[in-house]
Subunit: 322 residues, 2 copies
Amino acid sequence: MALLGIDLGGTKIAAALFAEDGSLLLRETVQLEDRVGSAVGKLVNDCICKYIEEAKRKGIKAASIGISVPGISNINTGTVWAPNIPGWNKYPLLAEIREVTGDIPVVIDSDRACYILGEVWAGNAKGCKDAVFLAVGTGIGAGILVNGEVLRGSNDIAGAIGWMALKKPFEDKYIECGCFEYYASGDGIARAARDFLRTDRSYSGILRGKDPGSINAHDLFTAYEVGDSLAGKVIEQCISFWGMAAANIVSLFNPEKIIFGGGVFGPAEKLIPAIRKEAARWAQPISITRVTFDVSGLKGNAGVYGAGYLALKNLNSFGSSI
Amino acid sequence: MALLGIDLGGTKIAAALFAEDGSLLLRETVQLEDRVGSAVGKLVNDCICKYIEEAKRKGIKAASIGISVPGISNINTGTVWAPNIPGWNKYPLLAEIREVTGDIPVVIDSDRACYILGEVWAGNAKGCKDAVFLAVGTGIGAGILVNGEVLRGSNDIAGAIGWMALKKPFEDKYIECGCFEYYASGDGIARAARDFLRTDRSYSGILRGKDPGSINAHDLFTAYEVGDSLAGKVIEQCISFWGMAAANIVSLFNPEKIIFGGGVFGPAEKLIPAIRKEAARWAQPISITRVTFDVSGLKGNAGVYGAGYLALKNLNSFGSSI
């Protein structure tokens, strides 16, 4: 018996076949290329069909399928809202997948839910019942595990931590993406660098020569490594926001673990001691002593592992949530 | 069959007998007076014994007992930490109560957990599965209901929202009670007024004549009612913090309802539209349209109703959590 996990991202699909204990049997990625709308849905189905066949060829049955999507999965309707895939607004993904999967149970969840599930199954949150995955990439979201279950909220939108208010007063620039995401996402890091470049005329470091429009988070971390003053300012600002956000997670949820993941952690991994130090100033003083800060144990694969675990959990509760 | 709810506060005990449907059969309060340590425990037991007898006299059996405590209840050890009751650090309340209750099941929980349970049972969160009680009194805490269950965290300390980081950079004055509580609790309101009085020499309103040390939140709301400028500044600042905190609850938990309670709501009830307006600027834009802001439907009785509901829930899961 095997579990099929599909992690649909904004640019590619990762598909993997897992054994029940979380060990990886088979894995590949397929680029979305220029697909949009139902062509993306068709590619998901092609992956599923291929892996069901691959499993058969190995003499294993794909017993359950889990799908991670880059947006919000409405559990009741089976539709998906994925802002980075054109045409995916209330996209009827579950109905489409069911056309090709026969009696194999299928469950869809948001990427942030899958990230924390992946870490619990096979990564750095193994055995945890209360843990949070803080995903910092282009945007920011959180997968939150409460007493062993993913926190969904009343409309499946819980964990939208990029909108966290951390710096008063409100400014119009937060309207599009939220205050925390504005300053401390991958995009936010690049934006902060551009803002500092614009205002600090005396700066003559290695980012001065760059076209401001082309600067990205990676450039900042590279400059930070060599002691660049502007990169230092930007990263210090991020540490402060990440620390405050982590503190708020600690005070509200009293988790065993916070996992820092996404493209930014990654290079920001070595900043975790500084983030913890900042969080400790703000957080509930007992809770902060009981929590571990860690990075993803699965790197870019937390989503596909989480999709696999979703498939396993759904199989174990068969009848209640398919 | 009746349920006995006991709400232990910092200055008094409220005891009540409920029918299964949440209707109140009997209620009274007893002052703690100058009791500390085990004398408080003895008073709790006296209340319990008296109510078990009262129920008997009415021909009803007290079938289950719930206790709300002003602090943290450790479910595993049955001990209570209650900072406002001298000597209640790991106080063995459950063991003491069991000495007088025979085979009647007993369960103890924090006041903030009981507040939201009370509202769900008999107040303004009836029927909700995802709801938050924001208790603003001398301090600030939150009772958080997630998918029908109280959020506890890994050490029963979840909901410590008074520690929420909302205004960077960190200042040492937040060390004792947390940033949000520093500015926006009942004590915070009085403190802000004193700070403004000290710095604003031009102010000549009705609070100028007062001894700064004696000013309390009540004085501020009275002054605000008559358009006092200093009170206006203090209350505007609170609205901003309450709005940011509510926004963060909305973005993280995607709840159906936020209930504002505690002594401050109360007089701050009429500020809720302004708080909502501020929250709407910061919060995840879909979640904010799905949430209702309300005040407690039980006023000062949310704790004792919650204790009664705790008793009922424990009875229904008999064997698993007593």
